[in-house]
């Protein structure tokens, strides 16, 4: 059975009330959504809130999923909307700047796992911190377009559809985001 068919089977079973199917469905996507949340919000706490809200949204709207699109695309559309909501509520830009200065969450997140391969964990943590630092300098729209293009491998048409803009606007946002990253990188190099 393919992944998409398996998704559909799990959705059908969950709609009939199977808690096992629901849990399996959540397990399949929770890591992707959580990491999406970490990259977008910049901290694990908000990422967890986002994850829970996304899956609550999925649960509430599961009966509306018709299978016209891939389940993963549908999930990320919900995640995208929730990210925009959270950003609106918490004024993410400010929070991110603050979080970026303190960098508390990643250290906390990986601290519990440091007993296993601590060097590798530290490298991973530093790589993730770099990504977060870069993304934190972007606007939410730019961050989302980078997320959807680089990490979720969506086409510009899909991104445009999700963000309610044209494909050209999505491409421009992507380019602008990369330009901004270049500027940030150059600033960091000058400062360092």
């Amino acid at each position: 059975m393919g992944l998409i068919n398996e998704d559909e089977a799990l959705i059908a079973a969950a709609l009939k009330g199977s808690a096992y199917a629901w849990e399996k469905l959540v397990k399949r996507y929770e890591s992707r959504i959580f990491n999406y949340g970490v990259r977008i919000t910049g901290n694990t706490s908000d990422a967890m809130d986002l994850t829970q809200e996304v899956f609550l949204g999925i649960y509430r709207n599961l009966h509306r999923f018709r299978g016209d699109a891939k389940f993963s695309s549908w999930i990320f559309r919900i995640a995208h909307n929730k990210a925009v909501d959270i950003n609106r509520r918490k004024r993410l830009t400010t929070t991110l700047a603050h979080t970026n200065n303190d960098e508390p969450d990643f250290l906390e997140t990986v601290a519990g796992d440091n007993r296993y391969e601590p060097d590798k964990k530290l490298d991973d943590q530093q790589a993730n911190s770099r990504v977060i630092s870069m993304l934190a300098r972007l606007s939410l729209e730019q961050r989302l377009v980078i997320e959807l293009k680089v990490y979720q491998s969506l086409t510009f048409e899909e991104i445009a559809d999700m963000q309610g803009v044209s494909a050209n606007t999505a491409k421009t946002r992507f380019y602008t985001a990369l330009k901004k990253l270049k500027t940030v990188s150059e600033e960091n190099n000058v400062l360092s």
Partner: protein, 226 residues
Amino acid sequence: MSCPKTQHLLQEYFSDGLTPLAKKEIENHLNSCEQCNDEFKFFLLAHSNMKGWKDQSVPHWDRGLELFKREHRSEKESMGFWGRWQLVPTAISFVMLCVLLLNVSVISGERGFFVSFGANSSNLQLQYQLAEIQEQYLVEMDTLVNQVGEWLDSNNVQVLQVVMERTREATMENLDLIYAYFEQQRLRDLEDMRISYQELVDSDYETIRSLQQLARFVSYQDDAVR
């Protein structure tokens, strides 16, 4: 000095469905344009850095299972007419549990249902069963007696028929014998009578002859006297 093509070319380079020919053209331009090439290299580096993300493990959470179970339970509870039927197995289990705990005995017989609770139920059940067995026994006995009576009657009739048949046959034989005996006796009597008459006749004849002789003698004597 910036190249006017940079944005367009790089947007296209990262866009979907880039044809090999278009890609070749972009690469040709990148080779010839230092500014676009620098921009492109940085973009690749940034892209590569972004791809360096290592997935973090998800903190423990209940995955919405509590909500899912609670809502589906309440959904099941409000499923209407057919939903209520789903409670039937539970209700049956509950009744069975009560039956076991209260030691309930339900006895059904020809006299109807009999329900008893507790430890006495076994004695009452036994009494009830005993009474039923006795009743059945009496009924069976009556039936057997009737059957035996009918069987005996039927046998008696048959025996009587046989006896009467044999008696009739014997009587017939006896009557024949009696008749033969009487006939024989009658013939013998007739013969005896005939002999007796003959003897009587003979005797009479002798008497007559004697009388005749006497008469003749007398007559002769008379004659002689004369």
